[in-house]
């Protein structure tokens, strides 16, 4: 037991920076760039993504001994798709606005490379606790990345931040181009270059 604790902690922490799924491994870019127009939506996306990732990692880790190697990918994909369906129904029931904002990117979590990547590389081979720690770390890493980029884009694109009813306006003449697709790519390029310069990735 004394051995396990630091181990779990490492599995949970590595997703945040060392192996950040978005900035370092460059996976899961579609929702990352598309939903990063506002901080609120980014938080919603992180929650939906986290639910799918935790659920999938839990199940695949539980059944890992009974999965034949040859058909593992189709099995994993079906498990992921089931969790996405559950998430979609829950979001549609409790927050129709979020459902509208996430649009097609909610069902597209199914083919999010981070989820399949973690299942294939980690949770299908490790114990339940380790897989859950890994999933929490990866969700935190994804959340950190998407919330930070959406903060920059919303601030520059609308001149302020809107956050659950509260809104702060920092400057009056926003550059709304940052909300369009070119802005997303450019901000991401800038962030990656900055992180590289600082030696984080």
């Amino acid at each position: 037991m004394a051995e396990e604790k630091p181990n779990l902690r490492w599995e949970a922490e590595k997703g945040l920076l060392k192996k950040n799924p978005v900035f370092v491994i460059l996976l899961g870019l579609c929702p990352f760039l598309a939903i990063s127009k506002s901080v609120e939506d980014a938080i919603g996306m992180t929650l939906a993504f986290g639910f799918v990732l935790l659920g999938t990692c839990l199940v695949t880790s539980l059944i890992r001994r009974w999965v034949p190697r040859d058909v593992r990918i189709p099995m994993f994909v079906v498990i992921i798709a089931s969790f996405v369906t559950i998430t979609e129904l829950i979001v549609r029931a409790y927050s129709p606005t979020l459902r509208e904002h996430l649009g097609i990117f909610l069902p597209l979590i199914t083919v999010n490379c981070i989820v399949l990547g973690r299942v294939e590389a980690f949770s299908s081979k490790r114990s339940v606790l380790e897989s859950l720690a890994d999933a929490i770390g990866m969700t935190a890493g994804f959340g950190l990345a998407i919330i930070s980029i959406s903060f920059i884009r919303e601030l520059l694109g609308t001149g302020g931040i809107k956050f659950f009813g509260y809104s702060f306006t920092i400057f009056g003449q926003p550059a709304s181009g940052f909300l369009l697709s070119p802005g997303g790519f450019l901000v991401m390029g800038g962030i990656l270059a900055l992180l590289k310069k600082l030696g984080v990735i």
Binding site: G28, A81, V84, L108, T110, V111, N112, L186
Partner: protein
């Protein structure tokens, strides 16, 4: 007829799947270092997107809608795509070994290419007819091909340039994609 033409133009240029809608980005940045590989990937995506549009249309109209289980569409479509890719791989290996050697490694990757699932989900959401679904699949995937070939061509040249160290490789690819997206914004007015 006019409707089909507008779907074609809309998805090919105006609402390009990669540059405007942010779909299919992992492979877009993952394999666009090399022009030949990008072209191959684009063609493979085009083939699978068009033909899976056909299959999912029948799945939708003869399986999901009659039984009222449209909420199962994600599971159904991803299964169709996964098995379809597997089938194409087997047929190709037996009948066109030369083609398979060139295409082979890109086919499994396509299962998790979000562009394919997105095309099928859009067909479903927009309630397209069979012809419209096929045109949408073809046009969207060709839009993906155009975008990835453009980026790969630029990246190939950029790899010989003396860029600042921190911008090399991936960061500059995002900047280039941003500029391409900016150029594609120019199509926005066409067709109303």
């Amino acid at each position: 007829m006019e409707n089909l033409l507008s779907i074609l133009l809309f998805n090919l240029l105006i609402n390009n799947i990669v540059l405007t809608r942010f779909i299919g980005l992992c492979s877009y940045f993952g394999i666009s270092r090399n022009l030949r590989n990008s072209t191959m990937m684009g063609l493979a995506v085009t083939f699978v997107a068009t033909s899976s549009s056909l299959v999912t249309w029948f799945v939708n109209h003869y399986l999901l809608t009659p039984f009222g289980i449209q909420y199962m569409r994600i599971v159904a479509f991803i299964l169709v795509i996964a098995s379809f890719v597997q089938l194409v791989e087997i047929i190709m290996r037996k009948t066109m070994p030369k083609f398979y050697a060139a295409f082979g490694i890109y086919l499994p990757l396509i299962t998790v290419n979000c562009a394919i699932l997105a095309v099928n989900l859009i067909n479903f959401d927009e309630n397209y007819s069979l012809a419209a679904s096929l045109v949408n699949g073809l046009a969207t995937a060709l839009g993906y091909t155009i975008a990835i070939v453009l980026l790969a061509g630029i990246r190939e040249r950029l790899s010989y340039e003396d860029l600042p160290r921190s911008f090399r490789d991936v960061p500059v690819a995002f900047i280039v994609a941003g500029l391409l997206a900016l150029a594609f914004q120019g199509f926005a007015g066409i067709g109303g």
